[in-house]
């Protein structure tokens, strides 16, 4: 890790990506992620990388599609409405199995919505906003430090799985400053090393191998079914076994368990302390991966727990996965704010007590 520095979230994200060996970035301005393209426009060229300010999010995701297919280590970033515009591209990236890392600095919606933080992208990032049976791997950091580590590792996960990986941050993490130790710079892959490292990539066949054809169209239904069932599905099953991560705090013996991710989980964590002082035992499950969802964490919820509460900045999108993980064992409630309004610990504590009275 590098020395501790006070950094703005979006800049720290960009530094972490460059340190991870990312050399290609394609961005389009949208608040609240603008410091990512701004930083990349200044810094990538200093390390021999390449930056394009794309004409749209649609173009930026497709530039990533090209660069990743050519063997480059690629980052794109946007915010909720821009991610919506990229969804065709994510479906395409998944089908051609291109390793691309995307940062989503989420804001409120629907529509153009607002520029304040939100978490109502949960469906569009975990349910596949694009067409077809595909998944992207989604990480949700709670702090700038954790975001840097997740971004740094995301490139390796993307390469290993040959799948797009998204870091779902939010406007809060993107815009605030925190002390951060960014992971150390790694050497980037050289162009001449791509053919050996990524034999599937577009590098030119050099008259030494069969030509590589990367395709997204399957005009014979049996071939497409086979691809879905025997290429993509086993990969997703492997991801479900290997990738789910969660932070689990004080769940054993808890009367109430909060489920919360991202910056919102820090409010839930503080609300736990308020409630603890009042003698209420509260636990927390904080999904660090949104897809695959950490179902395993919910096995730790025992007989003592009467209330599971999803704490999130949406109308209850993550709550659906919580319900699926619990499979009807315990009623699930929602404590939320939407439209860019944030939750604070006192309000979470008060609303928790109300839920306990009613149930």
């Amino acid at each position: 890790m590098q020395e501790k520095r006070l950094l703005k979230g979006n800049e720290a994200f960009a530094i972490a990506a460059i340190n991870a060996g990312c050399r290609f970035y394609f961005g389009y301005p949208i608040t609240p992620q603008n410091e990512v393209p701004e930083y990349m426009s200044r810094e990538l060229k200093k390390v021999g990388g390449s930056f394009i300010q794309a004409e749209s999010e649609l173009a930026s995701v497709n530039m990533a599609y090209g660069a990743a297919s050519a063997g480059g280590r690629v980052l794109i970033s946007s915010s909720s409405p821009g991610i919506a515009l990229m969804q065709e591209g994510f479906s395409d990236l998944a089908v051609i199995q291109a390793p691309v890392v995307a940062i989503n600095v989420m804001r409120s919606g629907p529509g153009i919505g607002g520029i304040q933080p939100g978490q109502a992208d949960y469906f569009q990032v975990t349910r596949g906003g694009g067409n077809g049976d595909y998944h992207i791997i989604v990480y949700a950091p709670k702090s700038i430090q954790e975001a840097c580590e997740m971004i740094y590792n995301a490139f390796d996960v993307a390469d290993e799985y040959r799948n797009p990986v998204m870091i779902c941050a939010d406007g809060m993490l993107g815009q605030m400053m925190e002390p951060v130790c960014v992971p150390e710079p790694r050497e980037a892959m050289k162009e001449e090393d791509i053919p050996a490292a990524k034999p599937w990539a577009l590098t030119g066949h050099k008259n030494q191998r069969e030509r590589n054809a990367i395709n997204s169209v399957f005009l014979q239904q049996e071939v497409l079914e086979d691809f879905n069932m025997n290429v993509l599905a086993p990969k997703y099953e492997k991801a479900k076994k290997e990738l789910p991560e969660a932070e689990i705090i004080d769940v054993e013996g808890a009367e109430v368990v909060f489920v919360s991710y991202g910056s919102t989980s820090r409010m839930a964590r503080e609300a736990m302390e308020i409630l603890k002082e009042e003698g209420i035992k509260v636990g927390l499950i904080r999904p660090k991966t949104l897809w695959p969802f950490p179902d395993f964490a919910f096995e730790q919820i025992g007989e003592s727990t009467k209330h599971v509460i999803a704490v999130e900045l949406s109308m209850g999108q993550m709550m659906q996965d919580v319900k699926l993980a619990l499979n009807g064992r315990i009623p699930v409630s929602l404590i939320n704010k939407v439209g860019g309004v944030l939750l604070d610990p006192e309000e979470i504590a008060e609303r928790t007590k109300k839920i306990m009275e009613v149930r």
Partner: protein, 248 residues
């Protein structure tokens, strides 16, 4: 005996899915012959569009990728950043390039991206079965204008070379045709120049190839080439719009 003619190594031995009389086959072969003659088959990377030529990679013996509808210039921009010294090209039809993908086209040209685009203009959507394209001529029949395109309903067809001619980053812009042997020879020279512009790093190179679609035009192949000559060329003049001194 010394062979007098050989099929280029740029074409794979595959039975084509294109309709009889379609000019995609000629365009494919010209591009591959040019790359072969330039000794660049092993380095080239192509991007195919959505449309009849989506599976061009089945026939072209170079590394290739399919782009989603209209996005080929963005995809090629990304590829070129990773392999700045490799010849990169997009191969796009009129629906893909002039309709859904015109934004990506104009901005790739605007940035002066150093790749080539080969634009197959046959004035119709082929793969989806003959709908009106942005380049369908006034009066020309298509399944979404069965009585012929009208200006009142759909406006006038877009002239893409003329549009790109206003963009400084597009340094080489030429329209050629595939309706006769002499036109085909001229087209090959234009393709050569486009790759030359790219190799010299001069900017974006664009070649429009006027093409036929006998099936969706409802004509025999011979009649289709006549129709191209008599109807398309007057509206889409065969012309070199600009060419850098270095490749003249």
């Amino acid at each position: 005996m010394k062979p007098v003619f050989e099929v280029t190594k740029g074409m794979r031995e595959k039975v084509s899915h294109y309709c009889p009389g379609c000019t995609h086959g000629i365009a494919h072969r010209l591009i591959m012959e040019v790359l072969d003659e330039r000794g660049q088959l092993g380095d080239a990377i192509g991007v195919s569009p959505v449309g009849c030529s989506i599976v061009a990679h089945q026939y072209l013996n170079v590394d290739m990728i399919e782009a989603s509808h209209g996005r080929a210039p963005a995809v090629a921009s990304g590829i070129k950043r990773v392999h700045p010294n490799s010849p990169v090209f997009t191969y796009q039809g009129d629906g893909d390039l002039a309709s859904i993908g015109i934004g990506e086209l104009i901005h790739a040209a605007g940035r002066g991206e150093k790749f080539c685009t080969f634009f197959i203009n046959n004035a119709i959507y082929g793969m989806t079965g003959g709908q009106m394209a942005p380049t369908t001529l006034v009066g020309q029949k298509a399944t979404t204008c069965v009585e012929g395109r009208t200006v009142e309903q759909a406006g006038n067809p877009l002239r893409i070379c003329e549009l790109l001619n206003t963009i400084d980053g597009a340094v080489y812009v030429e329209r050629v045709s595939l309706h006769s042997p002499s036109a085909v020879r001229a087209a090959k020279k234009a393709i050569h120049r486009a790759f030359e512009v790219q190799e010299k790093g001069l900017g974006y190179a664009f070649v429009e190839l006027l093409s036929t679609c006998p099936t969706n035009w409802g004509m025999t192949p011979v009649k289709a080439t006549e129709w191209l000559k008599e109807n398309m060329i007057p509206y889409y003049p065969v012309k070199q719009f600009k060419c850098p001194e270095e490749v003249k």
